[in-house]
């Protein structure tokens, strides 16, 4: 059933693309090309959610993780005049936030939603409090023109010319999918998220695995934040994550806690942003602009309402694991 759904989505996407491409190849490529930068921060942020929730930890602190990582990535990148160092520091900041979330939710067994809210408020406050002007990074991570692939007709212009974090991010998403479904780590992680005592009784340390995964997820959140600061725009501003971490939660659920599903959902979002823009560019619509901007949100609700079915989240999510209560 799920497989057929994904096939259906893939096939109809290709058909739609082919149709529009035959109508106007430049605009169509451009819209799909632009969907990627719109989608990438959402997709990476959604991976944070997927990784945490698959091991049973609800993470609504993604927004805060991105914000504070973007902050350190940018300012240390600027101070050290080295964006690679900034990227490293941004990721390490994410790791620290992941560890903080781990301590709160795994060791202290705090309510996971509260823990996420704390991270969000704290991140917004501290980055705004410490913000200073007149810092510049030497340059951003620049788009890469991929030699052979870039020359392939139709596909080349879409997949080439993105920045290195974008490529790494997409590879990571596919890698995460493989790891989650094909490796011992993935099987154990999913078990811990579904039924932690089963994993525990099989000799898998629930606490350790959750720590590892939430921390790695933090690093991914750091990557998403660094992407915004160092690749997408090259500046840091207060609150400039603009709610992407929350939209990512919806994307994660939309994608059914599956890395590729979430990536597809993020692409759908990115695509609807790009299409929205294109509608304004082509002035095909005379309806008020607010209605155009509502479009992706309305579409998402409609699609979910129609295709719905009950999405089933990892069963142990949100519940602290009490080892002795097996």
């Amino acid at each position: 059933m799920r497989f057929r759904l994904s096939y259906f989505v893939i096939v109809s996407s290709i058909l739609l693309f082919a149709y529009f491409y035959s109508q106007n190849s430049i605009v169509t490529s451009s819209v799909v090309f632009t969907a990627i930068p719109f989608a990438l921060p959402l997709a990476l942020a959604a991976m944070v959610g997927v990784m945490c929730e698959r091991t049973g930890i609800v993470n609504i602190g993604i927004e805060g993780t991105m914000l504070v990582s973007a902050f350190t990535a940018f300012f240390l990148g600027a101070i050290l005049k080295n964006i690679s160092a900034g990227l490293f520091i941004g990721i390490m900041t994410g790791v620290l936030v992941g560890l903080l979330l781990s301590v709160m939710t795994i060791t202290w067994k705090m309510d996971q939603i509260i823990a996420g809210v704390i991270i969000n408020i704290m991140a917004a406050g501290i980055t705004s409090f410490l913000y200073r002007q007149n810092y510049r990074i030497p340059s951003t991570f620049l788009p890469i023109d991929i030699p052979v692939i870039g020359d392939i007709p139709v596909i080349g212009p879409i997949v080439s010319n993105h920045g290195p974090i974008t490529y790494f991010g997409i590879i990571f998403i596919f890698g995460l999918w493989v790891a989650l479904y094909k490796t011992p780590w993935g099987l154990r992680s999913r078990s811990v998220g579904e039924h932690p005592s089963s994993a525990d009784t099989a000799g898998v340390s629930v606490v350790r695995l959750r720590y590892i995964n939430v921390t790695i997820a933090g690093a991914v959140g750091g990557l998403a934040g660094s992407y915004l600061a160092l690749e997408a725009v090259g500046i840091f501003e207060r609150g400039f994550t603009a709610g992407k971490g929350f939209t990512a939660l919806a994307i994660m659920i939309f994608g059914r806690w599956n890395p590729l599903g979430a990536f597809a959902a993020a692409l759908f979002f990115g695509l609807s942003q790009a299409v929205t823009n294109q509608l304004m560019i082509d002035e095909v619509v005379q309806i008020p602009q607010q209605f155009v901007t509502m479009l992706p949100y309305v579409l998402t609700i409609l699609i979910l309402a129609i295709s719905a079915g009950k999405v089933r989240p990892p069963a142990a999510e949100g519940i602290p694991y009490e080892k002795e209560k097996v």
Binding site: I26, S29, P37, A232, F240, Q273, E283
Partner: protein, 327 residues
Amino acid sequence: SSGTEETAAITEADCGTEGAFCIGLVTDTGKVDDKSFNQSAWEGAVAGAENVGGFAKYIETLDPKDYATNIGQFADAGYNVIIGVGFLMAEAMTTAAKQYPDIKFIGVDQFQGEALPNLTGLVFPEDKAGFLAGVLAGHLTTSGKTGAVLGTEVVPPVRYFGEGFRNGVAYAAQLLGKDLPATKLIYHAPDNAFNDPAWGGATAKQLLSQGYDVIFGAGGNTGNGALLEIAKTPGAYCVGVDADQWGTLPEAQPCLVTSAMKLIDKGVAALVEAASAGTIEGGNFFGDVGLAPYHDFDSKIDSAIKDKIAELTPQVLDGTVPTGVKL
């Protein structure tokens, strides 16, 4: 940041006493270091204070419902001039001006319908700046495609800038006898409109990939996001907004051919000085708008174009050449 700017003569403690000249500035919900109009207004206040030997201080507003309270803090502390930034504060300013007739109020971006003697609206014909930038853009474009990445349509200055720019391009087409397609105006959704640089950048990418080669970025950080993206693309031009962004956003220099300026700092400083001198009048005060210098692009722009812009500037500013933007 302590939020104060002292000059040798006067300190905060003197405010409210005879002979002290104190200027208070209330930001809108942005911060005073927003690289945008709050910052420009504050810089103007500081410059004004320095010139007249006064003292300046700001309060950053968190919640738009606090405008009146924050204005009241300065009023109660005996400040002589209170500057309110942003058109959303207009109502609170009017109320305060009536309540404190002895204090001079300066409302940045606040058009005054009815004139109060102690309330001066510092307003700008943004459409004219946008128009001039548009004319330049119309001359510079090789693909003929021009666009603008903007904050939300519902904030009037943004719309004036954008539509002015579009009409400017159309005017250039007429001048050149070319058939340029209309400039595309892309507005962000109202939510978070001025603080979504990632959206601005990606939208600029979309325009660039469809061959748009002169793009106007106007909308706080959102617009800045567009400029930064364009700066990565060789051969494309971008146009900044408000201040001369050559200085405020140096990262955009590779593409920044000019900025559609609206000189808030200069206007605020002038009004502060007028207040100090007692020459300030109620009603509207029109601040300066115009194009920023071309900086490094000066040598790359055809002198015929530069001459044309120079010739057109006074005509647009005095209204002989109408921008056609409905205000």
